[in-house]
């Protein structure tokens, strides 16, 4: 009996020495298997390049339709207004963080307009945890920087994945024409606009009866709102 006790004691100590104490601790659950969404071919980017004046004209037409083609009177204040919390990509708190996987020296500050526009729309829906640096660093399904493509400079958004934030509605519509902006704002849904051939992204949040207004992530807090500018190259709405 004593020999058995001695033997079991040695075996126990040896096991602890070899395996260590990790086996006694809780191990994190293995990464969940997730199915990553892919782009619907029907959603491929339309080759549209509409000036700001034309976009605003389409807005006025939509407003007239909405009013039954009656006499149009410029609203005092906003015709449509969707409150959207503002984030600046150039906020010093996060502007120097590498964008996505961090290749090519790009940062949230220099190239994070699309990321920041998406974060503003998440904040509008109550997902304030998905702010620009958090969405930038978001790991999901065992994959770091889930919202980003890891090729090239590692700084390009994978849109279907970026819109897959847990708890979010999967409904999204991209890239639609300028004639649909008004109806989304009417429904209280901000529109991310791809402008100047994809060189920049802004969030359309209001129509003043004459012009659309955007939250521009390039600007700081004091200049966050400005009339729509540049050329419109597609709209994105999600989470409805």
């Amino acid at each position: 009996m004593s020999k058995k006790l001695l033997f079991s004691l040695f075996v126990s100590i040896a096991l602890v020495a070899v395996i260590g104490c990790d086996s006694l601790q809780d191990k994190p659950a293995s990464n969940p298997v997730i199915s990553e969404p892919t782009l619907n071919p029907a959603d491929t980017l339309p080759n549209i390049n509409i000036s700001a004046d034309s976009v605003n004209a389409l807005g006025r037409v939509a407003m007239m339709d909405d009013m039954g083609r009656g006499p149009v009177k410029a609203a005092a204040g906003w015709q449509l207004y969707v409150p959207v919390p503002f984030y600046s990509q150039r906020d010093p708190h996060w502007s120097s963080k590498p964008l996505g996987f961090g290749g090519c020296g790009t940062t949230i500050g220099s190239a994070g307009c699309f990321l920041t526009s998406i974060a503003m729309c998440y904040a509008k829906m109550g997902y304030s945890a998905a702010n620009p640096p958090a969405l930038n660093d978001w790991s999901y399904g065992g994959r770091a920087h889930y919202a980003f493509y890891d090729g090239g400079c590692g700084n390009m958004i994978r849109l279907p994945q970026a819109l897959q934030y847990p708890g979010m509605s999967r409904n999204c519509h991209y890239w639609f024409g300028a004639d649909q902006i008004y109806s989304y704002l009417q429904r209280g849904i901000p529109v991310i606009a791809r402008i100047n051939g994809g060189a920049h992204y802004v969030v359309i949040f209001a129509f003043d009866g004459n012009r659309y207004w955007v939250k521009d992530p390039w600007n700081d807090w004091t200049n966050q709102d400005r009339p729509f500018y540049g050329s419109f190259d597609g709209g994105l709405a999600f989470g409805f």
Partner: protein, 346 residues
């Protein structure tokens, strides 16, 4: 008689209380008692030995490695410096020296180093330059970034502080350009190697577009006389050169985009290589472009001579150019996938 070969302990009920006397008091078999003692002694010895080994390993990793920092480091043997998370304390960041012989050495560890900054450390002439983020807790708005200089004897000097900063130190360590924001607009602060102010450059002094807000760091010339930077996200992008002798700023129009994947700059040659491959923020859009068949051209532009040369063309492919000397550029030939050398003087 109690046979201790069949029980390992004995409990005796004495007046309703459970009494567990030591085994050796109960045992009448004297051959068994020493055996149990031996087991206990051996076990204790084994545990002590095991603990000693574990402590030894811990001491090795946590103490012995850090004692390396006390060994004087010859600046001539240091190639560069980088940051790594400390393996025993997640709040600490190690400054790691890459020696010219290929070895690495932890110089020192600090809390608060801004590890997530895209350009958090530089090494020049025996000094390491790092950014610390101080007081960054929760929603506290009173945080600051601090630029520190640390020599190889671990003497620290605070050079600059601001809410958010970027920096580029001249090769000789004598001058530093600090990039910070002032009311949402960039400004450049030129300081000397001890942190004293030379001059502040407002964005208006650096750009040809009065609405520009943001600069982009390029590099110092190897003689530390000139700092080059650029303007991004502007209606009319440009690059600029600051002479540190007289603080004169030269501005040059630039039709490319400094955020392009194919941009590489050489301050000594006053030249930039770039392609017109578009800048993409959306992976699907980039994927669509890659099969579009659109022609992409790789250019060489000299800002002093104001000349632009075409180096090569591709069909929707990158070139990944790199300067390998003041007159030679290496790039990937998109037609063959092999590396090619372009001589700027040819």
């Amino acid at each position: 008689m109690v046979d201790l070969r069949s029980v390992s302990s004995l409990q005796v009920n004495v007046g309703g209380e459970i009494f567990s006397p030591p085994l050796n008091l109960l045992s009448l078999d004297k051959k068994i008692i020493p055996m149990n003692k031996i087991i206990r002694i051996l076990s204790a010895l084994f545990v002590i030995c095991f603990s000693a080994v574990a402590v030894g390993i811990f001491v090795y990793f946590s103490f012995f490695l850090t004692t390396q920092k006390s060994i004087p480091v010859n600046a001539n043997l240091v190639f560069s410096a980088s940051l790594q998370k400390n393996i025993t304390d997640s709040n600490m960041t190690d400054i790691v020296l890459q020696m010219k012989n290929g070895e690495t050495r932890i110089l020192v560890s600090y809390p608060n180093i801004y590890f997530d900054h895209y350009h958090a450390i530089e090494y020049h002439a025996g000094n390491i330059y790092i950014i610390k983020r101080i007081n960054n807790k929760g929603t506290n708005s009173d945080w600051t970034d601090e630029l520190w200089k640390i020599d190889l004897n671990k003497h620290e000097t605070k050079m600059f502080s601001a809410q958010g900063l970027d920096f580029r130190t001249s090769p000789d360590g004598g001058k530093i350009i600090v990039i910070k924001q002032n009311q949402g607009v960039d400004e450049l602060v030129l300081i000397d190697g001890s942190g004293s102010l030379f001059k502040v450059f407002s964005i208006d002094e650096l750009t040809i577009d009065p609405k520009a807000t943001t600069t982009y760091p390029l590099s110092w010339s190897s003689d530390s006389k000139y700092y080059w930077g650029g303007i991004i996200h502007s209606l009319s992008n440009n690059v600029f050169k600051i002479s540190t002798n007289d603080f004169f700023v030269s501005k040059y129009q630039f039709k490319g985009d400094l955020l392009n994947h194919d941009v590489t700059f050489n301050a000594d040659a006053s030249s930039i290589v770039y392609s017109d491959y578009p800048v993409f923020y959306d992976a699907d859009e980039a994927s669509a472009f890659s099969i579009s068949g659109i022609k992409v051209t790789l250019y060489l532009e000299n800002f002093i001579t104001e000349t632009i040369k075409t180096i090569n063309t591709s069909v929707a492919k990158y070139f990944q150019p790199q300067w390998i000397s003041e007159t030679e550029i290496q790039y990937v030939d998109p037609n063959t996938g092999s590396k090619k050398i372009y001589n700027t003087e040819a």
